[in-house]
Symmetry: C2
C-alpha cells in the first residue's frame, strides 16, 4: 500500500490569493480544504475551530492580518484587523505573539509596502514553526531514547498536538514521529479528549496515517493506565506556558499530570517559544476560555448512512459548564521540551531558556 | 408544577409474575419498563446494562435466581442459574453476595419450597437495600453538615450512584437527597462519565427530577474544578471495596481522588456492606471488566427528529481499549460511608466495620 500523501495543515495559494487550511471540524470523516480570504473567514475559522492548536492559530492569524493589509494597508485597518483576530480566542498566547510579529514588521513601512511585507512575515513565521517543531522532535527523541525499554515505547498524549496543531511535525507528537522515523518502536495511548474529541478525531487519524500504532482510550482511563505501568512517558502540548513554568493546556491535562506524578511516570510539555507568555507570572493569571455548553451536551459523528449528524446526549433541561483549558502547576511537569532543548519548568529553567533564545538569534 | 411520581428502579409484579425494571439504556430520553421472566432475560438485562449499579445488579440477580427456581427448583438448576447470573459481569461483588444469600436460604429446603423461599429472600434483600441506603444517607448528611458553608454545598460525584443504581436513595447520592430534604442548599457537579455517560444520562436526570440543582461537566473538567475550590466534597459509589479499603469504582474515579487529595477536598466512597469483598486483600486483586471498544468509538443520542441514533466518532480502523473500572488506593479515600457509619479505609477501619456489622445483626 503506498504511503498516503504528505500533508501539512496550511498552505498559501498564490494562484487563488488565499490561505488554504484543512477544516479540522470535519476530520476524521472528511478531508476538506477551506480557502480563507476575508478577515471574517479567518476569524470564523479560528473561532469555530476549523483551525485550532496554539501554533496553528498564531500562523493562521498572521496570514489573516497580512491578507487584511493587502486589501487595506492603513494603520486603522492594521489595528482593526489585529483586534478582530486577537478577540477570536482568549487562551492561546501564540495568537498575540504572531500578530505582534507581523505588526512590528510592517507598521513603520509605507502603507503601499505593508501587505507584501506582512505576507512575507507570515510565510517566515510558518517556516520557523516547521523548523521549531522539527527541533522539538529531535530534543524529545533524545529524552525518549533515555527511556528505552525492551518492548515498544508507550507514550500517552492528550488532545492533538501533532502536525494538525502546527504546520508540520507537531509539538507533543514531534518526538513520536522522529522516533518512528528512526525505527524506534513506539505505541501511543490517545486520550479521546472530551468534549470535542480531538484525540480520537485528529490524533488517532494523524498517527494511523503515519503508520504509528495507537490506541484510543477514554480520558477516564488514563489514570488506570498510568497506575498499571503501561505508560513510559506522557507528552502534551501547551496553549500558554507561564513564566514560572505552569502549563495551560486542553482541559484534562492536569489530571494526567497528577496521575503521572503519583505513579513515577515522566510528564513533559512540548512547545515552541511562541507559547511562553513572559508577562504571565503564574498559570493562575491565564484567562480560561469557557465554551458553549452544547459541546458537552451533544456530539457530532457519522451515522450508518455516512451522514454527519449531531445527536443530543443529555436530557431536556440539563445544563453544563465547559471550560476549555486547565492549568498544570509547574511542580507536576518533568520538563519543557522546546526548540532550544529541554528546560526545567521553573523561573530558573525559563531564565536559561531565555538566555538560550537570545544567543541563538541571528546577528 | 406537581412533583414527578416517586419511582424506584425495580419492582416485583405478582400480577405478571415478573420483575419490572427501568431500561436504563434508554434514559434520559425515554422512561420504559422491562418485564424480566426468563433466566436469559435477566442475564441479558445485566450484561447489556439495562440494569446497572452494583447494588441493583445484586438484587436483580437475586430475583433472577428466584424466578429460575420457581420454574425448576432442582439443585442442578440452582447451580446452573447461579453460574449464568454470576458470569454476566465480573467486577461488582454484590452479584456474588446476593446469589450466595439466596442459595444459602434455599439449598437445604425441599425442592418444592425453594422457589417461594428464594423470592421471599430476594424481596428481603430489596427491602434491606432500601434501609441500608437510607442509613448511608443519614450518615453522609452528618458529614456534610460538618462541611457547611455560607453558600450551597458543592458536591462532586462520578457515574451514577443514585437510586437508579440501587432501589431507592442510592449510595453516593443518598446524602445529597437527605440534605435536599432537610433544606440544606446543595448543588451537584455531575461528571458525564465516559464512555457510557451515566453521569449525564442518569445522575443529571435523577437530580433534576428531584429538584436538586446540578451541572454536568466533562470528566476532564473535574481536576480544574477541584483546583478552583468550587467543590466542597467528592462522593462516589463503589462496585467492590477490598479488605484494605481500596475502592474499585467506575473508570475515572481514581483521577478525581488524586485531584481531591492534591487540593485538600474530602473524598468519600458510599457503599453498603454488600459491596465489600472481605476475601479480596487489595484492590489490585479485583478483576477489571474490559468492555467492547465500540462504547468508546461510537455514541448513542437523540437526533433532531427525536429518533435514538448511534453515530460513529472515530475514523475507520481506529482501535480502542475500554476498561470499565479503576482502583482508588485507600490512601486517597477520606472515609467509607456505610449503613453502619463512616469508617477509615484501612484494615483497622474495616475491622471496626466488621465488628459493627456483627453487633447489629438480629439475634
Amino acid at each position: 500500500m503506498p504511503a498516503p500523501e504528505k500533508l501539512c495543515s496550511l498552505r498559501w495559494s498564490a494562484q487563488y490569493d488565499a490561505l488554504e487550511v484543512i477544516d479540522q471540524t470535519l476530520l476524521p470523516h472528511s478531508l476538506c480544504w477551506l480557502q480563507l480570504k476575508s478577515l471574517e473567514s479567518y476569524c470564523h475559522a479560528i473561532r469555530a475551530m476549523q483551525v485550532r492548536g496554539a501554533p496553528l492559530i498564531g500562523i493562521t492569524a498572521a496570514f489573516g492580518l497580512a491578507q487584511a493589509l493587502r486589501q487595506d494597508p492603513s494603520m486603522a485597518n492594521l489595528e482593526h484587523a489585529g483586534a478582530a483576530l486577537l478577540a477570536t480566542r482568549p487562551t492561546a498566547v501564540n495568537l498575540r505573539w504572531a500578530l505582534d510579529k507581523v505588526t512590528s514588521a510592517v507598521s513603520a513601512l509605507e502603507p503601499g509596502l505593508r501587505g507584501e511585507a506582512a505576507l512575507a512575515k507570515a510565510q517566515q513565521l510558518r517556516d520557523e514553526d516547521i523548523a521549531a517543531c522539527a527541533s522539538i522532535g529531535e530534543h524529545g527523541l533524545q529524552l525518549l531514547s533515555g527511556l528505552r525499554r525492551d518492548g515498544p515505547l508507550n507514550i500517552m498524549t492528550h488532545c492533538n498536538a501533532g502536525w494538525l496543531a502546527t504546520i508540520e511535525w507537531g509539538t507533543a507528537l514531534a518526538p513520536v514521529y522522529k522516533a518512528h522515523a528512526a525505527g524506534v518502536p513506539v505505541h501511543v495511548w490517545v486520550s479521546e479528549t472530551r468534549p470535542r474529541n480531538q484525540g480520537m478525531n485528529l490524533t488517532a487519524w494523524e498517527l494511523q496515517r503515519a503508520g504509528v500504532p495507537c490506541t484510543v482510550v477514554t480520558d477516564n482511563s488514563c489514570g488506570q493506565l498510568l497506575r498499571r505501568s503501561v505508560v513510559d512517558c506522557v507528552i502534551v502540548g501547551s496553549d500558554r506556558t507561564a513564566a514560572n513554568g505552569d502549563v495551560c493546556n486542553k482541559i484534562g491535562t492536569y489530571l494526567k499530570a497528577l496521575a503521572a506524578r503519583a505513579n513515577g511516570v515522566p510528564f513533559y510539555a512540548a512547545l515552541p517559544e511562541s507559547t511562553i507568555d513572559w508577562h504571565c507570572a503564574s498559570g493562575d493569571d491565564i484567562p480560561i476560555e469557557e465554551r458553549d455548553e452544547v459541546e458537552v451536551l451533544a456530539v457530532t459523528g457519522m451515522d450508518a448512512s455516512g451522514e454527519t449528524r449531531q445527536v443530543m446526549l443529555a436530557g431536556a433541561g440539563t445544563r453544563a459548564h465547559n471550560p476549555a483549558f486547565d492549568v498544570t502547576p509547574a511542580t507536576l511537569v518533568t520538563g519543557l521540551i522546546t526548540e532550544h532543548g529541554c528546560f526545567e519548568p521553573s523561573p530558573a529553567g525559563l531564565a536559561d531558556l531565555k538566555a538560550q533564545m537570545s544567543s541563538s538569534r541571528p546577528m
